[in-house]
């Protein structure tokens, strides 16, 4: 199990919303944990500052709705600007992870 790398949580949230469509905070947190196959133990509270940040930047929007077991909850979805941002961030992530991969793979 590992901590979430600084700055990567935003990207995870964006990608999750991209794949799953509209989702509430609990759903997002759960989904990230599932995808990571419990590699990442998310402190679920931390996604709320992340959601706020993304919303302030206009990359996601939120609406009140009712969850599958009839609870009032806030649902988040990706905006168009958020989709563009996701593409950009994914690209740069690929690039960096590639570089880091090569660096680590290079012989001593």
């Amino acid at each position: 199990m590992s901590e979430v790398l600084q700055g990567t949580l935003d990207l995870m949230v964006l990608k999750t919303l991209d794949t799953m469509g509209t989702l509430h905070g609990y759903g997002i947190a759960r989904r990230i944990e599932q995808v990571s196959e419990d590699c990442i133990q998310l402190n679920q509270g931390t996604i709320y500052p992340s959601l706020l940040r993304l919303e302030q930047k206009g990359w996601i929007s939120s609406k009140w709705g009712v969850s599958e077991n009839n609870r009032k909850a806030k649902f988040y979805s990706l905006t168009r600007a958020g989709q563009k941002q996701l593409v950009r961030e994914a690209e740069s992530w690929q690039k960096i992870s590639g570089v880091i991969g090569r660096l680590l793979a290079s012989p001593k």
């Binding site: 609990y26 679920q44 509270g45 709320y48 969850s67 077991n69 909850a73």
Partner: protein, 909 residues
Amino acid sequence: MRTLLSKIRAIFSKQRLDDDFNTELEAHIAMLTDENLRRGFSPDEARRAAILAIGGVTRVKEERREGRSFTVIEAFFKDLRYAVRMLLKNPGFTLVAVITLALGIGVNTTLFTAFNAVALKPLPVRDPYNVVRLERWFENGNHGDVQYAFSYPEYVHFNQQNQAFSSLTAVSWPEPVLAALASGSTETLHARLVSANYFPDLGVTAFLGRTFLPEEDQIPGAHPVMMLSYALWRDRFHSDPNALGQIIKVNDTSFTIVGVAPEEFIGTGIPSIVPDFWTPIMMQAQLTPGQNWLDNPLDQRFQILARPKPGISVKQAQAEIAGLQQRFTQLHPSRNRTLTVTLELAHYLPNTNDPRFQVIVGLMMIVVGMVLFIACANLANMLLARSAARRKELTVRLALGAGRSRLIRQLLTESTLIAVLGGISGLFLSIWASKVLWLAIQQWLQGPFGPGAAFLVSLSPDSRVFTYTLLISIATGILFGLSPALRFSRVDLTSGLKDEATAFGQRLDRSRLRSFLIAGQIATSLMLLITAGLLVRGLVRSQAVDPGYETRSVYLVSFNYGSDAAKALAIQRRAIDRLRELPQVRSVTLTGGIPMAGTTSQEVQSDDTRSKSFSSDTLLARVAPQYFETLGIPLLNGRNFTPQEMDRGAPVAIISELTARQMWPDENPLGRHFKLQDRVGRTTGPWVQYDVIGVAKSVRTANLSRLDPMMLYLPIRPASLENILMRTEGDPKIALAAVRSTLESIDRNIPPSLQLISLEQGPLHFEKVQARIWAMSAMSLAVLALALATVGIYGVMSYLVSQQTREIGILMALGATARDVLRSVILQGLRPVFIGSVFGLAGAVAITSLLRATLIFASSPDFLYGVRMFDPVTFLGLSALLALVALLASAIPAWRAIKVDPMIALRYE
């Protein structure tokens, strides 16, 4: 950007957002709990696990809140609310603090308002930051108003040749003229000659009627038209729109009123006097008969205001105008060559970039700054005392986990709030004070000059004044709040909570800052007090001072001579002859200069002295032989001028006693020589050698404050229209009536324009008013400083004594007598007073030396009226006064302390 907006919005909807998030978080927890239940947890455990998984409800909320908005700003609003509550809880403290600061900030703002009005505010014209004034620089280094004077041919030359300016306008200095109004009254009005484009190009439109037309300024004497100032129209024509088209007779010419200037147009400065009317330059010969300003290329009479064309920098424009000036100098060489011409932004006052002006303003700023310092020191002390009382509260907050920086911010918010409140009150105080001050000054000036000569009046605060007040308020708030805040946010938690260690343990440390503040206050107020004391002593002397000549029965005789120069001279000579025959008139003289009404100074050189090459600045007066008799100035040595010498314009001179002592100490000055440059108007001629034929007693003509350090009397120029001074005998009313009827018998046109003002009522009055203004301002500042310092000392001493009640109780229980306690408390209070006095005395010496240093010019006033620089009476007397006040301020609390019953004192707290 979006983030910023959203954060700003969040400031205002804090409550709703908090509620929203609570719901959201609650839903999250509920869902987690559901899942945990499914996994087989017990209900309680399921919820606990859910809360653990999200990392604690409060923490999440806090994190969310920090991200949502500017915590700093939210905290600021919280601090502000808290500060307001604290201030309302202690209305007495708040009131004293705000009043103290209002006084300190008020005097600063008042001075700044005045400075702003004369040196910073733009002229009341369209697009004022684009208007420049031409300034010339002389080879001989002449400074002052002369630098702004250009001859009419020069103006025409610039106007025709330049490419860089969209307009050049010319305006003369205000000329006093005798004007006969239609109502039948005659009075002295001030007029300025202007080029026809002066009003339109500066963007000033007439309030009534019109401004001048181009054709009205083309043919000399052809269009006698005038524009009135708003003030003259209001006061003399009672705001009657029918004033347009009416006639005002100036000299022999009837001028038609064609317009009235708007109220806010108070002229373009230099000097800062609102003229009564304007008239085209072509009317010069009619306005000032017997003179010709239009044709002489060296007769410098006009200021030039200009607007550079759009896209042309001031530098380019300056280069061009300097080049044009060079060409003009080649065509019309003069002895005092103009080296270059520069452009400066047009303000009311000239030479605001002159270091001497800046030094004076700087000094005044320092003085009022000192008053503000005293106010700040008071507040710092009050806050120190109060935060000591709030120790417990602060300690509790620190113990509960408040950060130190957070606490400092909170305390600074409180002090800044006090300061801003003080600043606002100070601003109102200053608006009121400048109004009162202005009314007082105008009242004093009303006497000799009449309502016509109003100084610039626009003292209303503008955005610059508001900014200045706001800035000094915030600065003072931080200044006096910082040290208490720093000190008390660093509390030792245990001792702070235990509360009692305070009185003994911490006193020593804190009293050092306090002593420093008291010493500073004492030093500053003593400095101000002594300076003011010297000025007031000077004032007392000025009201009683003997100028050295007769003033009550000597009258200035002025009337309208008409515009024909030859005829005017004949009338004047006949008038003098007839007046001399009157038994009520003891003596009549012609004179170039009137005592106390302006001076002429010039450089004098002599190679006939012991040091071979004597050179100095001297005062100068051209007078008729009867001058000495009329004014009652005795000739100590040698002889008077003869009428023949006067007619010839012989190069002979009578010098004052002090001049003789300075040029020829211990020698007989009679028969010695000196040289002067001949001077007519603003132009200078060759050096002329003069023989000394007499020595007159030294008197005060430049300033009432001191004997003229150097004065040369030369014979008056033959056939020149100069001032008449007359000395009456017996009852002045009878004498003046006789003078009036005699003059009427010469010419029936004289009486309407006749003015008879004695030296006492006229020029001398102005001198005394000046001294009064200086001394009054200094005195009110000093009294203010003393009052503030007294309040400060009293406050600190009461606080110290109240803190030591237990200590005193113990001492008295152990057998100390009331006298012992009293002495120890008072001595403790007086130590910083003593140290402060020493520094204050040193500072006062420095200030008076500076006042002394102004005496280097022959015509400069002696602000102290000959009071000695280290006048022991003033220095020691005021030090003693201050010590007495300090003693009283510390004795009262001390007295209260020893009245305390030891038993009560020990149980105190």
